[in-house]
Symmetry: C2
Subunit: 202 residues, 2 copies
């Protein structure tokens, strides 16, 4: 079964409190929450991460932090999600022995390299055109997603432009998770949006 992975990005919450959005997403059945904060000052970023840590603990849902190893360690996150130009997985592991480490990949080649590195989770995308990244990588196909799922034991997260309209197409390939930002954070009712997405995941 494909679970819903929601990325909380304060810049994509339609000017609402990201903590409120996160709470609604959890209500709607999101199974994993990630904090992705690219432009906040660190003090605010840490405060939000701490609040999300309390919230996800109360819901029994894992919290992952994007990019920032120090923030992940300070809030005792479950995982750290890295991109291709972020800290290398091997360096992150040196300090974060108890953290699961995920890696974003955008081609079969990158996915193979991530699997060889022993990443605990592989992001793969973008599946569709996305509103949440300024310079997205070229789109990948559902067939490539199937191949990535086949080449690793680690959970694979399909990401990029996934919405209620196309979620079933993606979950047919059986990734462990489907990740969304805008489709939940930017929705008028994030709990309803999460619930409807989950229904599409089957």
């Amino acid at each position: 079964v494909t679970e819903l992975y929601v990325i909380i990005d304060p810049e994509h919450c339609a000017e609402r409190d990201p903590l409120w959005v996160a709470e609604r997403a959890l209500e709607g059945g999101c199974a994993l929450l990630q904090l992705r904060s690219k432009n906040q000052p660190d003090a605010a970023r840490l405060t939000l991460a701490q609040a999300l840590r309390r919230l996800t603990r109360a819901h029994g849902v894992p919290l992952w932090i994007n990019d920032r190893l120090d923030i992940a360690l300070l809030v005792e996150a479950d995982g750290l999600h890295l991109g291709q130009t972020d800290l290398p997985v091997v360096e992150a592991r040196r300090l974060g022995a108890d953290l699961r480490i995920g890696l974003s990949t955008h081609s079969l080649e990158q996915a193979r390299a991530a699997a060889a590195l022993g990443a605990d989770l592989l992001g793969f995308g973008p599946m569709f055109a996305t509103r949440s990244k300024l310079h997205p990588d070229p789109q990948v196909s559902i067939e490539e997603l199937r191949q990535v799922i086949g080449l690793t034991e680690s959970p694979v997260v399909a990401i990029g432009g996934i919405s209620r309209e196309n979620a079933a197409l993606v979950s047919a390939a059986r990734p462990a998770y489907v990740a969304v930002i805008s489709a939940v954070c930017d929705a008028p009712d994030p709990a309803l949006a999460a619930r409807e997405l989950r229904r599409e995941l089957g």
Copy 2:
């Protein structure tokens, strides 16, 4: 005696290799080197920090890292320098028990708070108009610098717009360090610029 503190910022190195600039600054007698990298991807930031760690070890000079606790820990920096909206000093200490922690302050009130927090080093400025910050804080006075030096046992670093022309005015107040970015990084000959600044510090 007031020592020269050089902040290596890849964006203020006049398109030259920051490592080359750092090497020249050390040749010119800089006593403490800080890496301040605001816009590099983390992989590149870590690579530069590692190279500066090797270089400063070879010269027997302390290396400080601006903002990023994880990078400071990964390269075993001597210190981490934080701003007013960065990670709180007390949080940084939780993970970085072996790191010295510095804090930027821009008023007597902030300096008193930093001293009360037990910051291991206090930045104080800007002393003059600066080219290295987009939205600098209001300038402080030499008299305020004297007061800050008087209120703490920790070394005080005067910073902001300091150049060969005004360095002697600042060092007359006897801060532990005078810090520069542009005056060395942007100079045609960074070693000569550092040497001339040191001469002004007396």
